[in-house]
Amino acid sequence: MAERERRRTPPYGGVFVARSTVLDADDIRRAIWRMGHEILEHNQGDDQIIVIGLQTGGVELAHRLGEALTEISGTVPPVGTLDVAFYRDDIGLRPVLPEAPTEIPDDLTGKIIVLVDDVLYTGRTIRAALDAVHDFGRPRAVQLAVMVDRGHRELPIRPDYVGKNLPTRRDEVVNVSSTAVELGEMHR
């Protein structure tokens, strides 16, 4: 769950209390490294890859994934950010954050786009992101990398690269930071 949902959106408005640590900093580093290899393997060393982090939870992960790709393949992939607020189906229920800008480094036509987010849940963010991406060009392919897939999809969307599959209840909250993935609840 991204920072802004945790802070501002009910029913989560409250304090996150972790019950267990799912991944620690080393696990996260290894997961990013593995996903980097998977991306290159899947795309057969294609150098047309652009990594795009979804605001706000996917941005740091996208940069780390970009670094991993650089180290593994030797070529530096462009890394961008995307705020899907204007494309959401629940627009108006959430704030548009000026500190969460969209920066797309290139025309996306013909490129392989790897969308990056921290947690995949209902799939609605990704649905919005797919709409948004197509306003920047016609990519050759769009793939999805997430640190945690927690299930409960409401749309026919699946990830291509997953850090950790984590079965959850709907009332649980997954918190992803740069050093840990925790499972817990919101306390009012």
Partner: protein
């Protein structure tokens, strides 16, 4: 603060400092949208905006129309010249007819001050003031603030000279409100005949000499000589006005290198501004027009897309990440 209370945009004072800053922040996002390959986002899909312009307008109307289209709203065009207004239909009947067709917002320009406010009494739709008489033109003030903020990095503490026909100018009234709300120091430069009868509501100083202020301000904001609103001899002649208050080429040379020149348009070149001044690097006239679209996107978005409280959604629906 209840955000749902704000359904209309009539004046800068209604919006308040917080509201002005909120719109300016939102505008940043819409400037980015406007630079995209496909500068269109689906935030107002299914919403309808109607234009009700009882007065001539090129840029405001086109700007609002472009803004609505970029937000995917539908627009309903009403041109007074070819409408039932010519058959004697009243303003009230006209707006209620438009509302009966299902609109979410009406953008109004009217020659009478207070007409947009009056309309709010008759409708459930949002009303946006696109200029009423001498009273207010809030979106112009917002786009000027945005342009200045982008150019100077901020408005707080800046000295801004507003030059010209203050008396007949709704742009001046809204800009004074917005500039002073954001912490600028405003000096009005005009002959006594072109100043409003009372300056009490404004926190401004007055000068009758453009030459005295021109070297020491950060911004020179020129107003149009509103020839169509002048029914008496307020200046001896346009030529004399130009000689004493116009930004001539000679005065333009005395501007500081970072002094910004603004004009809300349409310009009377050769009257309040010399023909080639708007092409100077200091002049931001085209920036004003460009930013106008993004600012009006922000205004429409602020009024129409955020029905629920943007900080605490009201339905408690579960959200994904």
């Amino acid at each position: 603060m209840s955000r749902t209370a704000q359904r209309h945009l009539l004046t800068i004072d209604d919006l308040g400092v917080e509201g002005v800053q909120r719109i300016l922040r939102l505008t940043d996002s819409f400037v980015e949208v406007s630079e995209r390959r496909i500068p269109k986002v689906p935030v107002l899909r299914g919403r309808t905006v109607a234009w009700l312009f009882y007065e001539d307008s090129t840029r405001t109307r086109l700007s609002f129309e472009t803004a609505a289209k970029r937000l995917s709203a539908d627009s309903m065009n009403f041109s007074v010249g070819s409408s039932a207004v010519n058959k004697g239909e009243s303003l009230r009947d006209t707006v209620q007819t438009i509302e009966a067709m299902g609109v979410d917002a009406i953008v109004v320009r009217h020659k009478s001050a207070g007409a947009p406010k009056q309309i709010t009494q008759w409708l459930d739709a949002s009303v946006i003031n696109a200029g009423d008489g001498w009273h207010a033109h809030p979106t112009q003030a917002l786009l000027d603030c945005y342009t200045l903020r982008a150019r100077l990095g901020g408005i707080d503490g800046r000295r801004i000279a507003i030059v010209g026909d203050i008396k007949h100018s709704r742009v001046a009234r809204s800009n004074i409100a917005a500039f002073t709300a954001l912490g600028a120091e405003v000096v009005l430069v005009a002959p006594p005949t072109l100043l409003p009868p009372s300056l009490v509501p404004f926190d401004v100083t007055v000068s009758h000499s453009i030459d005295e202020v021109i070297g020491e301000v950060d911004v020179v904001y020129l107003l149009r000589m509103q020839l169509e609103r002048m029914h008496e001899a307020l200046v001896p002649s346009l030529r004399e006005y130009t000689a004493t208050y116009g930004l001539t080429a000679a005065r333009a040379r005395r501007l500081g290198p970072d002094t910004v020149v603004m004009h809300p348009g349409p310009m009377n070149r050769g009257v309040e501004v010399a023909a080639d001044v708007p092409q100077m690097p200091n002049a931001v006239v085209t920036d004003q027009v460009r930013n106008g679209v993004a600012v009006r996107m922000a205004v429409l978005f602020d009024l129409l897309a955020t029905e629920a409280d943007p900080v605490f959604g009201d339905d408690g629906e579960e959200t994904d990440a």
